[in-house]
């Protein structure tokens, strides 16, 4: 195991790292969603189809991303 990896594992017991990871994952999920929705719209997906894929209503996707 590399020193860097080892130190990261040790650090993962640090709640500051775990909590920061949660925040970063949430932000990552939002940014990946935004990118995927944009692509789906470019490729002609309806708001309904995007909502189905995300497990949310058509209205909520449209309210968030519709311009």
């Amino acid at each position: 195991m590399e020193t860097r990896e080892l130190s990261e594992r040790l650090r993962s017991h640090d709640p500051a790292v775990g909590l920061r990871a949660v925040g970063a994952l949430r932000r990552l999920a939002e940014q990946v969603e935004a990118a995927a929705v944009e692509r789906a719209r470019e490729q002609g997906w309806s708001w309904e189809q995007i909502g189905d894929a995300l497990g949310v209503s058509r209205q909520s996707v449209h309210a968030k991303y519709g311009k």
Binding site: R11, A16, V17, L28, A35
Partner: protein, 154 residues
Amino acid sequence: MFEQFAAGARAAVASAVDEAALRGDRRIGTEHLLLGVLHEPGAVRALGAGLDSARAALDDLDRTALAAVGVDAQGVERAPLPVSRKRAPFTSGARAVLPRALVETRRAGSRRIAPEHLLLALLDCERPDPVAEVMTRLGTDRAAVRAHLRRTES
């Protein structure tokens, strides 16, 4: 509270709000206040680190945290988040900085809060406050920065 802010400090807080939105953060934290303050040249001189390196330090903390839970997000396509109509609230840590900045202002004998006073208050934040982690990552010598700021304000 904000009526006691000089123009520079007002601009710094407005920039902090922008920095949080840019990152997709839902709250304005001490780390965003630091980024906001670093939009002011005087603060950059005092800290010895600019906006870009502070942003990079914050990204680096995120990358390390993600790696600790086994996630490598490098090369993943991301898009900026849609602009939220809701105003992002301040974290409790960020709220606590404002009265401390006011104390620094009084100590300096000034009437209004300047970006330097915000920076002095941020320098006093301890771990686990995010700004303390960013400053550690930047290699900030807090005592030296504090001394520099106190010297230049008198």
